[in-house]
Structure formats: C-alpha cells, structure tokens
C-alpha cells in the first residue's frame, strides 16, 4: 500500500516536494489556499528570475504542469487545514474548502506555507500608498510581467527611478531585524532589466550594504559596468513629494555627496520577506515551534533545517526564513526525502 503524505502550500517548495513524492509513488494531498498553484511567484507574476534571467514560467510553470498532470497528486485548491490531530506516529487531518471538508490519515506532513511580502505602508518614512509613484518590488515585478512599466500617477514612462534596499528588513523599528537575503539581488536584477528595456531611464540604487551573496555578486558588478546603474551608499530617511510631479528621496550619501535630496519619477522599495499570518497559524494548529522572527523554527538550523520541532512534520521553503526560489526548490526535495523516510519507517 502506498504512503499518504500531506503537503501544505503549493509554492516552489511545496510543488517540488509533491512532484518528487509522486515520482516515488506516494499518494500526495497538496493543499493550497489560493485557487491556483505557484505561490507568490505566480500570484505576483514574477517575470524573470535571477541569476540567469530565465523566464519564471520555465521554473514555476514546469512544476505546476507536473503537479497538475494527475498521477498520485491530489490538489485541494482554495483549501485549508481546519483540524489537525496526532494519531500515534500518524496524523489525522481535516482539509476544508468551500465544497466541504474531508478527514484523512497521513503518514507524514510537509509544511511549505512560504512568506508574505513586507507591507511598506507600515514604515511611514517611505510614503508608500501616499504617493502613487512609490511602488515596491512586487508591484514592479507585476508591472514588468504585464508589460506595463509606466508611472502610476500619469501613465507615462519614467526617466529616473530609485531602488531603495532594506525596506522592512534590518530595521528594529518595524520589528524585522533580519536580512531578507534576496531583495538586493532582485533589485539589481530589476534595475538591469529596466535599463535593458528602457535605456532612457536612469537607475539609482540606495543601499546600506549590497548583499548579492555568492554568485549573485556577478549581477551587481554587471549593473555597474554594463548598465550604468548608479549605486549610492546611504539609506533613505524620508520620501516627500517634489515639483513637477516628482518624488524626492532624502538621505545622506555617507561616502561622497553628504546630504542629498534627489527628485525621481518613480521609487521602488525593496520590501523584504515576513513569515506572514500563516506561520503562527501553522505553529498553533500543528503544534510546531515558531522562531523569534515570526518564521517556523527548524529542529536544528544547521543539521536538519527541513525538520520541524515535531517528529513527522517537515519544513520546506520560505516558511523557515527568507530564501531564493532555488533554495526553496532544494528544500522541497530534502523535505520530501525526509517525509518519505519517516512514512516508510512507520508503515
């Protein structure tokens, strides 16, 4: 008899876990809160992925296709875990959707509930939602995805755009002391993308540090050397409105200019990643630990980052902390292997 494994969340990590398990012949129940698979990359229409600028569809689309191909994966769209009970070494789980609920017994569980983008309106100094031309990283990604890169205020193409890093990350005032890891690389990628498609538009990046870690560093050098992106050291203290329908970024260039006030047509805030309401929800429903940053806590951050604090429940992707899509996919596979081993051992 085949094993039954529950995967919660249909983003990159959950999808890859489900696909790998189905290849092992496991019966997978894939629960997704939205009416579609693909998670945040699909929801916000990510267009190109760093570091090689391949279309997001090559990655996410491919995983969705495999998951939806039928086989041993059953997808529960617009559904949630409404009840969760331990049953010996197994789990009795009730899955609820608009069509009704269904209770099943699973041998093991993979939690891949992902992250939420930080809402920049929570940090008043950036004037997000106050000025139309202040947008954030996911808004720009969607604009690019829809081929509609114009100033929201007047529908005209911008001539000068600022990218502001560390919005909602590394800031004790908003309660997120951690680095969101990918926003530097995404912003640099977006600046390059913008310079390639709209060469008349100047790009500035304001940073505290540029954390394009590992090989992503290539992108940042490329941005300076090949795409003439201005990279200025100084975090923005305030965004105000300026003459001629501009938005002014005020800050200190701590290396060169000293204090500056530069008008831009558009400002893109690199809003970070948060555990969202789903992380504490999973923590209380499944009885697994939450960490001090609002993400789910792995049993051992180094030795077993894919194990939760409870045996039989495994973690994958951004639900344990900010990470890149490639890392989430890797963790999906790692969690699948561990969930499978646990299921087989306790058959």
């Amino acid at each position: 008899m085949a094993e039954n494994i529950l995967v919660i969340g249909g983003g990159p990590a959950g999808l890859n876990a489900a696909v790998m398990l189905s290849e092992l012949g496991v019966n997978v129940a894939l629960v997704e809160r939205d009416s579609f698979l693909g998670g945040n990359p699909k929801k916000f229409k990510y267009k190109f992925l760093f570091p090689d600028m391949q279309p997001a569809d090559n990655v996410i689309g491919e995983l969705i296709k495999k998951a939806e191909a039928g086989g041993s994966i059953k997808v529960y769209y617009s559904s949630e875990v409404s009840d969760f009970k331990e049953n010996g070494k197994k789990f009795d789980v009730t899955l609820k959707s608009a069509d009704g609920s269904e209770t099943k017994t699973f041998d093991s569980v993979i939690v891949a509930t992902g992250f939420e983008h930080f809402d920049p309106a929570r940090d008043a100094k950036y004037s997000y939602q106050l000025f139309d031309d202040v947008i954030d990283i996911k808004d720009l990604e969607r604009m690019m995805g829809e081929n509609n890169f114009v100033r929201p205020s007047n529908g005209k193409p911008p001539k000068k755009v600022a990218f502001i890093l560390c919005v909602g990350s590394r800031d004790r005032h908003v309660g997120n002391q951690y680095c969101s890891r990918v926003c530097c690389t995404v912003s640099v990628k977006q600046a390059i993308e913008m310079r390639e498609h709209f060469p008349d538009c100047e790009a500035y990046i304001f940073y505290m540090d540029i954390r394009t870690y590992g090989f992503f560093e290539d992108l940042y050098w490329q941005a300076m050397e090949e795409h003439d992106v201005q990279i200025v050291k100084g975090r923005i203290a305030e965004i105000t409105s300026g003459p001629d329908n501009t938005v002014i970024c005020k800050g200190e260039d701590t290396l060169l200019r000293g204090p500056f006030e530069i008008p831009f047509d558009m400002v893109v805030l690199a809003s970070g990643m948060e555990g969202g309401p789903q992380s504490p929800e999973m923590s209380s429903k499944l009885g697994i630990e939450l960490d001090e940053h609002g993400f789910l806590k792995p049993e051992n951050i180094t030795l077993s980052p894919f194990k939760s604090s409870k045996a039989g429940i495994f973690l994958a992707g951004a639900c344990t902390g900010p990470k890149a899509i490639s890392d989430s996919i890797t963790e999906g596979a790692a969690a699948a292997m561990n969930a499978y081993t646990y299921a087989v051992k306790n058959r």
Binding site: H173, M208, G251, E252, T254, P259
Partner: protein
C-alpha cells in the same frame, strides 16, 4: 593648565579619558549606543545637518570608536549644534539614539562647567532665571520685537497692552504679565527643594555665577516669606 607654543591649552589625555568614562558609565549609554553600519538615515533626516557641519552618524561613530580623543573633539562645539529633536532616534534602524548620547555629553559639559556650556547657556540666562526662580519659562513681558523677529510680522502688536490682552483669558492665574502664570509660594518652595536635591542650583553656580546670585536672592526671599 598647560599651553602649547600657540597659546592653546593642552588637555591631558587622562582628562579626556575621564570624560569618556563618565559618559560610558551613564545608565543610558547602553540603550543609546548600539550597532551602527553607517547607513546615514539619522543624518539624512537630521534638521541641523542642513545648516551646520553636524552629523548624528559621526556622533554615534565617535562614541562607538571608544576613542577619548574623538569624543573630546565633540565637546567644544559639535554637541551644541544638535536641536534635540530626536528625529535620529525615531528613524535609526538599530534603535540608536545619537540625540540621547548628545544629551549625556551635554550634561557632562554643564556639570563640569566647561567653557562651551557657559557660552551656549549665556543667551538663555533670562529663561533660566524664570525657570529656576518661578517654575515657568516664557512670560508675556519677554515677548519683544527685538528678541523674537522670527515670530513673524505681528510680534509688534503681540507685545503691546499685555495686561489688557491677558484679561481676555478668563483665568485668575493668568492675570499676570511678568510670569506665564501666577505661581503660589508653596509651589515655588517645593520646586526649590527639588532643584536643591537634584543639584540644579549647583550646576547654575558653576556655569553662571552672577545668575546664580540673582536666583539665590529670589529663593531666599520666597523661602523666608
């Protein structure tokens, strides 16, 4: 005191170290000085930074250097350029408070009667007098066009017929023009006890001895009444 060949006083490094230790031992130090990665948000949002060679980021970096020489260089003019608006503390992602640590340094300068403190406090002697002798700050009769040109074009009108204008405010305690409000002698006596206990009078004595004498005359009068 020692002087160099240009007649500039030489401050021994031991003394500078003592000043730094005094700041570091302040109970607020740990709370105000935390990590700093030179992001410049504090200075970017700092109002006096627009007008003076003053940067809250430099203040914090100097404190973090733990170098008594660097901290000493700020004691003369630098710390007095701050408006104490605390915008820096409001926006610092590390929750540092450059404004707060400046307050600590200023208190040291005042407590020790440094020349810089004397110079800066001199123009405030009228306010200090009202504050310490009567417990309130600005009084109507202090509003004069010569002193407050920045209050706008109506300052001339505002400074005339003060008693009549005060009558328009139907509050018995506001029918005075040499004070912001009429202060009861009991209140003043309590205030003097607090100032005594807190060492406020002592500080005034060290930064402005002549002002101290005037204040003491008033204090003695009130206490003996």
């Amino acid at each position: 005191m020692e002087y160099d060949e240009n007649g500039v006083s030489i401050v021994p490094s031991e003394f500078k170290k003592e000043i730094f230790e005094e700041a570091r031992k302040d109970f607020r130090y740990e709370e105000y000085v935390r990590g700093c990665l030179n992001c410049g948000v504090c200075t970017g949002g700092c109002p006096p930074h627009r007008f003076f060679d003053f940067s809250p980021r430099i203040v914090l970096q100097n404190m973090k250097s733990k170098d008594p020489e660097l901290i000493w260089t700020m004691m003369d003019e630098y710390i007095w350029a701050c408006f104490q608006c605390f915008t820096c503390a409001m926006i610092c992602p590390f929750l540092n408070s450059p404004g707060g640590i400046i307050a600590v340094l200023r208190e040291i300068a005042v407590r020790r009667g440094f020349e810089s403190a004397k110079k800066v406090l001199k123009p405030y002697s009228r306010v200090l007098l009202k504050l310490t002798a009567y417990g309130n700050q600005l009084s109507p009769d202090m509003i004069q066009p010569d002193f407050f040109p920045d209050w706008g074009p109506h300052i001339g009108y505002a400074s005339t017929d003060l008693a009549v204008k005060r009558k328009a405010i139907p509050m018995p305690t506001l029918q005075v023009t040499n004070l912001a409000w009429d202060v009861a002698p009991e209140t003043m006596k309590e205030l003097y006890d607090i100032f005594d206990e807190a060492g406020v009078f002592k500080i005034i004595e060290s930064v402005d001895p002549s002002l101290y004498e005037i204040i003491q005359d008033i204090v003695d009068d009130v206490r003996s009444s």
